[in-house]
Symmetry: C2
Subunit: 343 residues, 2 copies
């Protein structure tokens, strides 16, 4: 008889657990949390650019250019320098540092390129509508890659393999690649940098994908109101006031005040345990502190050490599988390629 | 009858061509030019380190560390910054530039890491006997990665995945990786960076591997005496006087005078068309000029424009197949990982 009781108990527990799990998933969905679609066609609907469709040829070319330091004035800095695919898509320093070792003048931190496609806007002040447009910025910014459009166009057109790849990718035998074309294929490559995680499996119905502790963290994350900004597929990516209700204790670092309405782009929380330091000015080095500051400044709630720890545990489920990247072998420079200029 | 004559003529020509080809291969071998062995076991005999054998686990770990900018003081510079595997194993600038955008104080150019294993010594002044020893230099050099041994050891031991990988690679559950261990696995990874080319196929007996023009270039390369320094598997890699007989016209750039005997390491010519600029001080941007200067300063011979062009054509056959490199996803930092210091 004992065995039977245990068995019934187990079934009953499973039933309760299943109901609770369903309830939490439903709660997460109601709060606006969305998965990266498992289906490739669904995913492509989300990440594609209708004006410049994703194709393998464009992605491969974009990858090369993403890694090519010759696009920069110095020949030493590529997109991957600040948005390093090996380290969570970021550089790990507080303020982005580029040409001539110059830090970002507003002390802005490099956001991760992973899942950036899911953001509604690009840049901390949301001034860019998409990744193709965004990619034009850092290449030209004086403290980043410091190049001119003309430099980039000269480099690309001095390397026959690049010209050939553009012609092939756009099926245009007369193509003379422009600066915009370069930024466009870089943006297209970046669109593919999505990292499905256990959290997506969980939202898709796999209850076991999260541990009990991660579910507890998720529940606190929702109940505290973090989801009011960290929602959608990106768990972030919209423009929000910052600080909203409290004072940001590191506000003296840098002079960034958001867009003209004081709105700041909400960073994605995907892979957040890999993208320290935190906040637009990279002032915070532990995720627990970041969580607690967010409670104070944005929600006006106190998040205890224990709660922050549990939310952190949930964040572990947001660490995603990175796309397989074969390190590109870049076509060699020619005598026509502009020489690097380190000044 | 006409058909028959043609056929006989063709056979006769093939015969002559075969003899001439054999003669040139023999001439190349007699001049000390050696192939990268096709056989894996033969290759391993050449590249292995008897004191620290190459294994897959060490190579994979070494690759991660080669790409890891957290070994540097700033967190921004990795081995791959100056020895970029995407661009011929070099950085493409005249003087290596590292921490705080500081150029090498002697204006020394970053040599390629590809096939560096075949060199007799490492560094331009040959002060290092092997790649494991060499790897310790740039990590600590103030104008390069600017790290201390302690910094590197703190970084590695703060990242549990790295410690685990070291323990596994060395089958030592008590291992606490040291700075030397880090440099050792980086060196081991570098040993695998060899690039077999058409020239190796040619030396191995495949006459068709080189075009007629490339063979002409090879013949001039040998006849002019370039092989007196550019020989062996690396087509370089020994210590030689520089300049030997003439004056180096860019001698005023930088203050490098070689080792205490005025000897300078001969750069490999493998992939030389991808590793501009040329010479220890990166003063020369076209291979034709480099070839002609070498004739004057080292051999006391004049190499005409046409001859230089042909030698360049031969160099094209030295462009090798690069190893397949999956871009590594590095284990994340922890709260114990030292923060980057850009000063």
């Amino acid at each position: 008889m004992k065995k039977m009781v245990v068995a019934i108990g187990a079934v009953a527990l499973m039933g309760i657990s299943a109901v609770a799990a369903d309830a939490l998933v439903q709660k997460a969905k109601n709060a606006g949390l969305k998965p990266i679609p498992e289906s490739k066609s669904e995913l492509y609907k989300l990440i594609d650019n209708p004006k410049n469709r994703i194709t393998d040829a464009k992605v491969e070319l974009g990858k090369k250019l993403y890694f090519d330091p010759r696009l920069s004035k110095s020949g030493l800095i590529s997109c991957n320098t600040c948005h390093n695919l090996a380290t969570g898509g970021v550089d790990g320093v507080d303020a982005a540092t580029g040409h001539k070792w110059t830090a970002n003048p507003h002390h802005l931190n490099s956001p991760t390129v992973y899942n950036a496609v899911f953001a509604q806007k690009q840049f901390w002040d949301g001034r860019s509508p998409d990744l193709e447009d965004q990619a034009q910025g850092p290449i030209q910014a004086a403290p980043e890659m410091a190049a001119t459009k003309e430099h980039v166009e000269k480099v690309i057109n001095s390397i026959p393999e690049y010209v050939k790849e553009f012609k092939k990718a756009y099926d245009n035998p007369n193509m003379k690649p422009t600066f915009k074309d370069v930024a466009d294929v870089i943006g297209i490559f970046e669109r593919t940098l999505v990292t499905p995680s256990r959290f997506d499996k969980y939202l898709a119905g796999c209850d076991k994908a999260l541990s009990k502790e991660e579910k507890e963290g998720l529940k606190i994350f929702i109940d505290k109101g973090c989801v009011s900004c960290h929602n959608g597929v990106a768990l972030g990516g919209s423009m929000q006031p910052f600080p909203a209700v409290g004072k940001y204790k590191y506000a003296h670092i840098g002079d960034f005040k958001g867009d003209k309405n004081g709105m700041v782009k909400v960073p994605t929380l995907r892979n957040v345990l890999e993208t320290r330091p935190y906040f637009h000015n990279g002032a915070v080095w532990t995720i627990e502190e970041a969580i607690k500051i967010m409670g104070e400044t944005q929600l006006g709630v106190k998040i205890s050490d224990k709660e922050a720890e549990k939310i952190k545990t949930f964040f572990g489920a947001l660490t995603g599988k990175k796309p397989y990247v074969r390190y590109p072998m870049l076509p060699p420079s020619t005598d026509k390629t502009p020489k690097p200029d380190l000044n």
